[in-house]
């Protein structure tokens, strides 16, 4: 059972880690969350990114939302911004695909080409 006391422990533990990662620039994962995105399943995709990043204890990753990206038929759409690299747009995501993107792209630096907007629009 989750308790407020446990939150106190999370605070102590995490603040120590946060201090270590203040100066570095991180990766941003941006999920399209307008009506189209939400209806297509953006929320479970966003939460899959959150869970996977937390499970692997990855630092310097922010997961956030944006509005409608403009290609509603390809939702859920996620943009991954890695520092010093070009933005990668992934389309028609599922929680399973999200986990693969964390492992292959965010951790290992290999873009999952088959899920990108370039591959979908061929």
């Amino acid at each position: 059972m989750k308790s407020i006391q446990e939150l106190e422990q999370i605070k102590q533990r995490t603040l120590q880690e946060v201090n270590l990662r203040k100066d570095r620039k991180g990766t941003r994962v941006v999920v399209g969350m307008a009506t189209c995105g939400i209806a297509a399943g953006a929320r479970p995709v966003l939460l899959a990114f959150v869970e996977e990043v937390q499970k692997r204890n990855l630092q310097d990753i922010t997961v956030t939302q944006t509005g409608c990206v403009g290609v509603c038929r390809l939702e859920p759409i996620v943009e991954v911004y890695k520092p010093g690299e070009e933005k990668v747009t992934y389309v028609k995501l599922t929680p399973e695909k999200a986990k693969r993107i964390v492992a292959e792209h965010i951790v290992n630096g290999q873009v999952v080409t088959e899920y990108t907007i370039g591959a979908a629009e061929k």
């Binding site: 989750k2 605070k11 603040l15 209806a39 929320r43 479970p44 966003l46």
Partner: protein
């Protein structure tokens, strides 16, 4: 949308676009009356009466990128499909309240869905906005507020993923408790 919690997530995007700093979400379940009420209340810019009327028109939107806005019209259609209703109470400069009633007897009534996931998503993406969540079931009530949590966190951000994970479980377990269920430690998945 598959469930009510997704509609709530969508409707609150309007509150955020309206510059709200505070959003109240209330779910009230009265099974004896076959009623499920959803109330979303914000302190954003609000709307004048003609805007409020047009907000229910799918071909009205304030954004400039396209000419449709489906959030409120879809939510209203879902409430009405169950035999319920949706009302908007708003005033320019004061904020907006959206109130929907679902009739839980109807086969077309959507399930509530995972409110904990909607709350976790909102808090993660908008850590500067204060969210308050109230969920009542008969006379039992669960309240959650980001302001309370932030007070306990000190320098740690509420959008820290470890905190978000905790919030999601905390809300989920407390909703279970409302229904009289036994809280489980099973991972909720996605």
């Amino acid at each position: 949308m598959e469930d009510i919690s997704l509609h709530v997530l969508d409707i609150i995007q309007n509150s955020i676009s309206a510059g709200a700093s505070c959003v109240d979400i209330a779910i009230k379940e009265i099974p004896a009356d076959h009623s499920l009420y959803v109330m979303i209340s914000d302190n954003g810019t609000g709307m004048d009466s003609s805007e409020a009327e047009r907000s229910l028109d799918p071909f009205y939107t304030t954004r400039t990128t396209r000419r449709v806005g489906l959030g409120l019209p879809l939510f209203k259609a879902q409430a009405e499909a169950s035999g319920g209703s949706l009302e908007i109470d708003t005033e320019k400069g004061r904020g907006t309240t959206v109130m929907a009633r679902f009739d839980t007897r109807s086969i077309d009534c959507l399930p509530l869905g995972r409110m904990e996931d909607t709350m976790a998503t909102l808090i993660l993406c908008h850590p500067d906005i204060e969210f308050r969540y109230t969920h009542s079931y008969y006379d039992k009530c669960f309240e959650f507020s980001t302001q309370d949590i932030k007070g306990k966190l000190g320098d740690l951000l509420i959008s820290d993923l470890s905190v978000i994970g905790w919030i999601r479980k905390y809300i989920s377990e407390n909703i279970e408790k409302l229904y009289g269920g036994v809280a489980s430690e099973v991972d909720s998945g996605t």
